[in-house]
């Protein structure tokens, strides 16, 4: 049931968010990107993987028939950027979902139950954090056959540590609040108190971290694919498109430039929205 008070609070948050002009720009970009990714089959003028008469069609500069030009196999870059958006965004969303779930669970358990469990879990976080993420990614991916599922999983499994630290810190504060004692006095069990009473109070920073994290994850996916360890050709991903145009960068700048721009705008959009959300959801920042 959506109560009136909740609607009012939602409106207030939206009002603060909408005053953030850059955040609105970011949100518009995300809506646009998600929309085009969903509608890629309808919007793309060509089959992204089709190669016909390579010699005649390859390395064409942007024109009316190929708005972003063609690559060395004569494939339409614009169509491939649209299809690449599906890959990049879905990997980004799914990986961050894994990271957030894992990070929230570990952080919440460590913070709420404390003691030895907290020490063990948080030293585990320190341990994982002490590896540079890209090195960890490369090693993990290199151990198995590269696939989209693997990349998603590995990105999720290497992205949760920051979230768990944030959540733990928040839970440490919230669990000392009197309403937690009040819940215990009412006879609620500890697990229920953590899940139903404490966690909803720490969601705000998690939402912000998730939004900011999507940008990073998309960037990491692009980096992996660029290195040939991520999404494998011929499936289009922005990372492997940039990689495939690397050798011809001086003669055919459009092959790397357009997928590169797609990465830049997407990451920027998520970061802007993340910043806007952080300001809008933080009651102390009411101006």
């Amino acid at each position: 049931m959506l109560s009136r008070a909740r609607r009012e609070r939602g409106r207030e948050t939206w009002r603060r968010f909408s005053r953030h002009r850059q955040a609105i720009l970011g949100l518009a970009l995300i809506v646009l990107l998600t929309g085009t990714a969903l509608l890629a089959p309808a919007l793309a003028p060509y089959d992204p993987d089709a190669q016909t008469d390579i010699v005649a069609t390859r390395y064409q500069a942007p024109s009316v028939s190929h708005p972003m030009g063609t690559d060395r196999f004569g494939r339409d870059i614009f169509s491939r950027v649209l299809y690449g958006a599906r890959i990049s965004l879905s990997i980004g969303f799914l990986a961050i979902l894994i990271a957030i779930t894992l990070g929230t669970a570990i952080g919440a358990i460590a913070g709420f139950f404390g003691g030895r469990l907290d020490t063990v879990l948080m030293r585990g976080v320190d341990l994982v954090l002490s590896f540079p993420r890209l090195v960890l990614l490369v090693v993990l991916v290199a151990l198995f056959e590269p696939s989209i599922a693997l990349v998603t999983l590995v990105l999720g499994l290497t992205g949760w540590m920051g979230v768990s630290r944030i959540v733990r810190g928040q839970v440490l504060t919230v669990r000392e609040m009197e309403f937690v004692t009040a819940a215990r006095v009412l006879g609620f069990g500890r697990t229920r108190i953590l899940a139903r009473h404490v966690l909803p109070n720490v969601l705000t920073p998690v939402i912000v971290a998730a939004t900011l994290g999507i940008g990073n994850t998309i960037l990491a996916e692009a980096a992996l694919s660029f290195l040939g360890l991520g999404v494998q050709p011929p499936t289009a991903s922005w990372g492997n498109m940039v990689a495939s145009g690397r050798d011809a960068m001086l003669d055919a700048w459009w092959i790397t430039t357009f997928p590169g721009l797609a990465i830049v705008f997407t990451v920027m959009a998520f970061n802007l929205v993340g910043d806007g959300l952080r300001d809008a959801l933080d009651p102390r920042r009411v101006s």
Binding site: S3, R4, A5, L186, G187, P200
Partner: protein, 357 residues
């Protein structure tokens, strides 16, 4: 004689701290009978709240621990050795508790109605009609309770978040949550301390009327003697982890036995009598890691003499029925007249020269 609802015997709760073991609650015994209101009075840090949390076994252990020999019995059932699952039934079921800070004791992300409903559903205290369960019934009961504790327009307020309500309203919500499960004992830990005086009085009246209606016993923890006088039947005065005086409200206010109680009463402003400064008890509450030896009030007591090196027992006195004080003065009342009593505090906080008044 009715058997006690709650019987606490030799309760000792100690905490491990950096400065050594803090004996926060150090051997207290008392009873609460069905339906009566017992006030537990004392300064900050004397162990009142720890006593309440010890009864419900809600203290973090470690650093806290209940010493062997401590006993808390609810209608004869020992709680100190009860299983956690049983304790969870007791909490909120047979014993509820409300807190000092109505600002923070409600969860900010749920509506007040959801919180009252949740408490009701958890203990399935569906007071209306048999066989009625589920969210809709709980919501209806919750609205009834909001109405009962004096929340205007309860159906509308059901969807309010705690931050949309005033402190007094929030405390009413807390009372609704605590009483909706029809407990036999309500522990109220400084329930009105954070509220305006006018609101305070309304809340106390509400508690008193609901108590009469439901037959709930109340253990009222407070430092406010005005509140005690207004609602309590019996008073336990706590000092330094021990009960130093036990008496009916009338006896306590008429003739306090323990010098500490006497000091507390004299520190309350009196409209009849014009005084420049209120009397005060010199010094501070000692630290729980280092209680004074002998009588714990000795360093601050104007009557202290050589006998106070020995720890006094709770001595029954003939002054009033069922009253007792942990003071040798009960044995030697003539010393009270020769003693100096509590003088007014001086502006710099030190005690003035004694003997002039």
């Amino acid at each position: 004689m009715t058997s006690p609802l709650l019987q606490v015997r030799d309760l000792r709760t100690y905490f491990a701290t950096d400065r050594g073991e803090a004996r926060a609650v150090d051997g207290i015994s008392f009873e609460v009978l069905e339906g009566e209101t017992v006030a537990l009075v004392g300064e900050s840090g004397c162990g009142k709240s720890v006593t309440a949390l010890s009864i419900l076994r809600l203290l973090p252990e470690p650093p806290g621990r209940l010493l062997a020999g401590s006993s808390v019995q609810l209608r004869g059932e020992e709680l100190t050795s009860a299983a956690e699952s049983r304790l969870r039934e007791v909490r909120g079921g047979e014993i509820s508790m409300i807190f000092q800070e109505p600002m923070t004791s409600l969860n900010p992300v749920f509506t007040i109605g959801q919180q009252v409903s949740e408490a009701i559903r958890e203990h399935e205290a569906m007071s209306t009609g048999p066989g009625e369960r589920g969210p809709a019934a709980a919501k209806r009961v919750a609205i009834e309770w909001l109405d009962r504790v004096g929340i205007p327009d309860p159906e509308h307020r059901y969807g309010y978040y705690p931050h949309q309500l005033s402190g007094g309203m929030r405390q009413r919500v807390m009372i609704a949550m605590a009483l909706s499960t029809r407990p036999s004992l309500l522990i109220a830990d400084e329930p009105t301390t954070a509220l305006d005086v006018t609101v305070q009085s309304q809340i106390l009246e509400l508690l008193a009327s609901l108590q009469t209606e439901l037959g709930t016993a109340v253990l009222l923890i407070t430092h406010d003697l005005g509140v005690v006088a207004q609602v309590a039947d019996r008073v336990l005065v706590m000092y330094a982890g021990q009960i130093v005086e036990e008496a009916s409200v009338e006896a306590l206010f008429r003739a306090p036995e323990h010098p500490y109680t006497e000091g507390l009463l004299q520190a309350v402003p009196d409209l009849e009598e014009r005084r420049e400064r209120l009397a005060e008890i010199p010094g501070n509450v000692p630290r729980a890691t280092a209680w004074p030896t002998g009588c714990r009030f000795k360093p601050r007591c104007p009557y202290a003499w050589s006998r106070c090196r020995d720890v006094p027992d709770l001595l029954r006195s003939g002054r009033a029925e069922q009253s007792a004080a942990r003071c040798w003065l009960v044995d030697e009342p003539e010393r009270r007249r020769s003693g100096s009593g509590f003088g007014p505090g001086s502006p710099d906080g030190r005690r003035e020269e004694v003997g002039e008044s």
